[in-house]
Symmetry: D2
Subunit: 399 residues, 4 copies
């Protein structure tokens, strides 16, 4: 995932790139041989030979062969079989699976790794926001609606709103990640070839799933892409929540506002030409991720809606990069947001001074009969912060 | 929703159009007065006067005023207040709410109505598919992958795959619909104005929600659009499932294939020029819905990711039409799909004849050592159908 | 297009709604009879009878029939034929066309009307921006990049950048509008039926186009949707340019910045709860249009990429609403932007005061060896304004 | 661009990857020094030292530094300056530019290279289609609309329609590529720093453009992204045209239809499990590209609509990957389509036999009074083919 055009991509190094994909495909092929062996379709020798072949195996796949097969699985299987001396054993590797099974399951493994890293980052974000919400539940600031001053709020409430967004997204992502299934249907989703090898192909599928720590689906999902879209929806929801946070930081951090600031870090935020500048780089990058995620998610739904026949002609192929990019973009953004929120500079004095200076506007709704105390017109702000913090504690106690 | 460019829009007549929206906004305003009264912020007279004003009230909103306010709420409130003779009472209507509260809650009411109709239609689709899956669990047909013959499957399994897609979508939509919240935050999400009227504004919010049969959210969601995007994701998932079904029917119903056909209905499928034609109109329309839903969903996520300040400057406004269109498109497509699946013509003899005529290809995977009996190479097809039917029964027993 | 959820939709009243569509379809059917008559395929009596039937004809189309036909053309043709007493003449109406021809051409007529209104509005925007650019070429303001202060610019240059964006979009839209073609291919794009009526069906197609003031395309475009996507791209480009302008106004009009403001108008910008508020309604609505246009354009490209067979099964149907909505959203936004720019309040004193107060930052790039005069570090700002104004004059002289 | 999840990505090896980007950025920095020297802002020594530093320079950019700067330019400039012994000269490298200038211009260079390769591939596609259109102008086949039999067409006309689509796209892409501009505005688009170095910064900008073979824009386009979106629209249009072709080949190549087939090539189209299978791999991959392009284009428009301030905070960053991916996907798909169309197997006998077997349906529109000769009901098919071929010759003579 090293990518000069995705600053911060180093944060997912080794998790989503082509090498990780090849490794995951080999893991899948080995898990299948083991599952066959566990259910009477392969021998201990088959497993041993496959384990030896897979160990440290880093095949180079001919790109022309990848294109010729339409995906990298067939070239990988060929390379793997070549690496096994015994041709009988070699011929049994991958038998019963289709390339669709292997690639889907390998992408699920990558997805799990990326999503777990994302969940860890979201926990850090949530903890940082909970701290901010608590510390600033009394920090009065101007509420702004449609860009203009509204009524007073607190920065604690602002952080609490971000927090609930993150917690909701975290929950959706954990749910989607926890249910990730193997793909296991054979050529047309009937496990017909596997049924020639074992008595109970669904038991083999279950063993395959168990071996990978994944779920065995009710039915193969070659043409029912809910596992992909459900994960995608959760990733997009995550980026939505991160985007609101980042865009708010960018607005509140404009020099004319100056109510929050991105914590300075050595070597960050510099300009190539203006020595004074301290660009809010993390917020900018998180915002850009949030601007991209919805279309990546839509891509996956478009493919899901077009998954025809027993396996489709192009819709599936349009998924792969969108899914990998969405996983990477979200994981990077979540990690950047963790750093952002953990080091956010908050300026409650600026907030209060500005709010007091425009108190007439902030209190106009209330009418003239009251005094000018902003803190007397905060409504349920404090109770809402409490609710958010309670929710945070519940989630963290669960986790 | 009468719309010549959305054939079938009559199926949601009166549920989503501007009149329904105005009605919903009045319902919301009345529910708020009642909630205030229930919690000490308004009198029985206020409620009575508002009830009388709202009853049968069909205000005409000046479109220039709607634009001037940026949304239809302020003109509606003005009209409603004018309809109440007592100016003191009139001035209390809407007090404590913001236009954002009213429009969000009104759209939630429309969403609930449309989603409930959609759920009913999905139940019909699921029942029809369960019947097809059961009846045709033994109907052998050619499996097709990447457009070419693969291994044999059954039409029952094909229907079972569609069925699981529908059941999953139904579940997601029911979950999203069951949790729909009121919006209730006042000018900047603090309920500050309400706090001047009642002792416990959160109790008022809870009464407001209860009065409308909706959920009271933990925090206002002016800038945290999860209720919208969660519903949208479920609607898009619904269209995904419907789209696969429709596109498969279109492929299997091509005259060169002829394995299924859209049931004929008087006055349907005719051509303006070719007398012989019987166009698969329902499938075509359902497919077109599925081609549209993902971008409508993405629109809502883009808005969610940009919900800045205490209430945003444009992102919210970009939601409304996308949400209404997505609700309408999905409800219409689900209803069309109910009719499509309930009257689907299935031709198991054609399926079998074709499969037998290309048995060499369908059995090539198996190798040469077996006989040519297609039914002996169906793997776990029948067990997968059983799983789907079991799942269907469980869902229907729950419902 | 009256639509409570598209504030400002009154600005396109009567241009894009279902009545306008029915009118356009009747215009198309009449133009076809006339074209047939001009090329030997119909009689003067046919033309006269059709003219009489069409005049003032406002058929009510049964929505169930519209769905049954898959589009409104067949019900319309049936109604029109019924309105013609002579059944021989009646049977010749529409003969040679397919419903796809009629609906595409009718939508082109609506598109032309909406685009022409949009072009007029863009001219107003351009004139207003040219005036602003000229008046404020010396109005120094802080340049802002990545939200932070950069080097000084002028408001004139800012307006000049907006101006070039508008002029580019205007050019693209004028080009796309000027080339709009009729659709005229008959059942499968061969004009086979027409060839039974006239000697030279392409001459009939040319007469058809001439009668409507449209272009006769090289080939029918049932499956080659470039006329639609080219127009859509220009509309999206228009919204892009409007969106930048609106978002900049929103940022510069934030109360903490206060360098521009939306001109006040009676009854505009009010809040339903806060008496002091003056919301920048036009900018908000224009911004929301710009947030929607890209996905509507993408919808049309998705359909274009899927226009299979001689006429496709769903992709075409997915176009209609997206095109109509995109036309409406753009026309409304352009008109709103005209009003916005014509009445924009610019505060050059505020700009200058702020710039001077942060001169250290704005001049940091230059290094320490120069004086602190901001106007001495404006680079080519003034020459760029001149270029933009020259471009504006050239475009307006052409127009 | 080596990417296992984009089969065929080897076709753009070395054109779009990070190494190519670094090379392009160095080319841009050198071109700027040369432009300064040509207009009095740098010395011959500066040029020589920069040339020497750039020659063969392959810097490794620290990914943390890339993220800290928000893009790869600042780390690259630092590395380049370090590679120049004379610190005075080193300090002048990049002076007058901003990182936005360098990255935009470098991406334009990559875009030009990819687009030129795409144009070459489109020429091959067009030539192949022109040959097919000419050879098969008499090859009668069943016309199909909404999936059902319509009236007869010819395969020549089908190919002619594809051809016009390709020629239109080629024209749009050539126009967009021919106008690609440098980006050259300095910190905030005023060339303020450059104005301290040279008398006429716009002359420097012009020399910069000339040195790179690009256009000098009227104004910098940091916030006016038309060069990007115009190119993107042309790329999406290209994929639209390719997608129609690929999807038609997939439909006509279904085994039940069998009217065209993807030419067999050694090692292509194999299945990982079914020995008989010959998957239409190229068509599948081209179709998947067409399913992706519209959303990538929409991403660029979303960024264009949000290009605020003098340089925006996230919208620009969201462009980069979308643009690179769109360029790569299109170039690969065009190249694959060239191979596909040059080796397309056409089966006119199958076409004719099927058409004759359903002649009753294909001629139903005509009524009963004519004979059953399909070729007598082809309308203007042949003349439309002529028009397309004429257009092809004109385009090719121009080229």
């Amino acid at each position: 995932m090293a990518d000069l055009l995705l600053p911060g991509s180093y944060r997912v190094d080794g998790i989503l790139d082509d090498d990780a994909l090849v490794g995951a495909m080999l893991t899948v092929e080995l898990a299948w041989v083991r599952a066959l062996a566990a259910t009477g379709g392969a021998s201990a020798e088959d497993v041993l030979a496959t384990e030896q072949a897979v160990a440290g195996f880093v095949p180079t796949l001919d790109p022309v062969a990848v294109e010729g097969a339409g995906n990298p699985v067939l070239p990988l299987v060929t390379a793997l079989r070549t690496a096994i001396a015994d041709t009988d054993i070699a011929s049994r590797v991958h038998t019963g699976l289709t390339s669709h099974d292997v690639l889907d399951t390998a992408l699920v493994l990558l997805a799990r790794a990326a999503a777990e890293q994302t969940l860890g980052a979201l926990d850090r974000v949530a903890d940082a926001l909970a701290r901010l919400a608590g510390e600033h539940r009394g920090s009065v600031m101007a509420g702004r609606t449609l860009t203009q001053y509204a009524v007073p709020v607190t920065f604690g409430l602002t952080a609490a709103q971000w927090l609930i967004g993150i917690l909701d997204a975290r929950g959706a992502l954990a749910d989607a990640t926890g249910d990730l299934p193997v793909q296991c249907g054979g050529a047309a989703g009937t496990l017909s070839r596997a049924a020639d090898l074992v008595d109970d192909p669904l038991a083999t599928a279950a063993a395959f799933a168990a071996g990978l720590g994944l779920v065995a689906p009710t039915l193969p999902w070659h043409t029912r892409r809910t596992p992909v879209t459900r994960l995608a929806d959760a990733l997009v929801q995550t980026c939505d929540a991160l985007g609101v946070l980042a865009d708010d930081v960018l607005l509140l951090g404009r020099p004319e506002v100056g109510e929050v600031g991105e914590g300075a870090a050595a070597g960050r935020g510099g300009s190539s030409t203006m020595p004074h500048k301290q660009n809010p780089v993390l917020s900018v990058l998180v915002s850009s991720a949030a601007q991209r995620a919805p279309l990546l998610g839509a891509q996956l739904h478009l493919s899901a809606a077009r998954a025809v026949d027993q396996r489709p002609d192009g819709a599936w192929h349009a998924e792969w990069s969108a899914l990998r990019t969405l996983l990477g973009v979200t994981a990077v953004a979540a990690d950047q947001a963790a750093e952002l929120t953990e080091h956010l500079d908050v300026h409650p004095d600026h907030m209060r001074r500005r709010a007091e200076s425009v108190a007439d506007q902030l209190l106009a709704e209330r009418g003239d009969t009251h005094d000018r105390d902003l803190t007397a017109y905060l409504g349920v702000s404090s109770r809402l912060v409490e609710r958010a913090l309670l929710r945070h504690r519940e989630v963290r106690d669960d986790g």
